[in-house]
Amino acid sequence: MSASASSRPGSRAWLLAETPHSRTQARLGQAYVRWLHFLRNPLAMIGLAIVVALIVIAALAPYLTSHSPFAQDLGNRLQAPSAEHILGTDELGRDVYARLLHGARITLLIVGLVAIIVGPIGLLVGTVAGYLGGWFDTVLMRITDVFLAFPRLILALAFVAALGPGIQNAIIAIAITAWPPYARIARAETLTIRNSDFISAIRLQGAGPLRIILGHVVPLCLSSLIIRITLDMAGIILTAAGLGFLGLGAQPPMPEWGAMISSGRKFLIDHWWVATIPGVAICIVSLGFNLLGDGLRDVLDPKGK
């Protein structure tokens, strides 16, 4: 958005105007300044590049390789990396490179769905608890305490055990265990905003709690929530991979990276690439989200400096 605007002559001056003439101009200008700040952070740019690459690979996976991630070729099992199979083949003769590329889709699906489920729930619970206060707040915060008192992976494991293995249930289990920190953050933000003058002004104008929370409190909590979710993405990827590794997440023949490590484990000593390569992919993607999250924190959170 702002990058394309900067290519036109004059638009840069418009964006950086000292006295913006409209609300849109002010907002775009602020976004542009933040983008410039972000550009100066090389680590954050690497993170952004990795995440963008993940999205592009996930979208174009079938076009980046001529091999199918599911086609078995038992005559060519456990082949070392070669010109035909650049990352070798697995125990069923499937091309590891093709599976890795298609695995990006699953990783993105898990991360995206968890974020979509968890973000709004945490935001709503936190803002409502923080704004209304009283017993409602106490009860909701007790509930988050209980969830936070658990090791996250173990709680997710227990939920998957009850729901049954599978990628959908893994996503549900991760989401159930992931929302409390967001509720905590949203609540803390709300408490600092709740008693400010502009909220009192809106209330005196006759706005109800729903309007105040959705229209005025939620937008102010968004940036810290986005930072936290981005930083948590790596944790979500690692948990999902752990579930896949234990055989409780994505089921065969899905090319999920954790499950690929698990199936390659039996051939680790003689055919090390089958198990180790998907792990490298997990590391790179998690690192990307961590770097991006750190960069976003620098840009979006003025208190963090």
Binding site: R142, I143, D145, V146, F147, A149, F150, P151, R152, L153, I154, L155, L157, A158, F159, V160, A161, A162, L163, G164, A234, G235, L238, A241, G242, F245, L246, G247, L248, G258, I261, R265, L268, I269, W272, A275, T276, G279, I282, C283, S286, L287, N290, L291
Partner: protein, 331 residues
Amino acid sequence: MATRLVLTVLVTFLGLLLVTFFIGRVVPTDPVLAAVGDRAPAAVYERVRMELGLHLPLWQQFWIYVQKVVQGDFGTAVLTGKPVLSDIRRVFPATLELATVATLLGLIIGVPMGVFAAVHQNKWIDHVIRVLALFGHSVPVFWLGLVGLLILYAWLGVVAGPGRLDVGYFDVVDTVTGVILVDSVLAGEWEVFGNAFSHIILPAAILGYFSLAYIARMTRSFMLEQLRQEYITTARVKGMAESRVIWRHAFGNILVPLITVIALTYANLLEGSVLTETVFAWPGLGSYLTDALLAADMNAVLGATIIVGTIFIGINLLSDVLYRLVDPRAK
């Protein structure tokens, strides 16, 4: 204050049981069918339903459940045919051993690293700690375990492979504590000790790596805060040796918050141990939990979950109490 603390812990514990109760009773399809199988006649089905107390209202079922758990009755594990509690008692020492060695490794390396980084702020050591932490947040622990096994065991042969002991050393020493490193010392069997050590060092180092990064970072920030204080300047002005200023005066004052950090990392290791134990075939709580999960043995899964959750709550409480005891300002 004390009553408030106890109340908080009780409510959290009840919440924990509520969650496991919910998972065990409400989520799965039908606990009766799981117990009798789908070919059982209607009379048997009804009898088992009564025995399990499933005809009672939910809150009453929950109350019975709480009473059982408090008495240490988690039911029988289908996998082993023994009570879940006795199973857990059998496997727990292995996890304790692993987590303790890992924490010790994290402490021995992490604390001096953090102190050094605080004294030499913004030098290379700071970057090392940052990279270690970043990598620790990005790497799957089970993958690191596999790579460690591949390189150090299969290729270089400098450590022993999966398991707690080589087969030849099984049952050489009597089980006293269940912690092989301690038992072998008690029995004076140094060969067994050496073998056990060679088995534990790699999984412990991998688990310890994750606590090391955190401990080093926290030590660094605690030390930075202390080194800014005026009493440090006073000590230096008096002509005190710099090493004494750092280790005696500043370090002495960060011990209290450091205890909290160590307790928390120790609790977190329980979580990391689930995946690590699976990779290293380490017969502890984590392996028990995964075996139970794969067999859908709900009594064992929920029993292990409650135990881990309780340890978590207990460690948090302990560090809270310790903090209040040691630091007079916290009262």
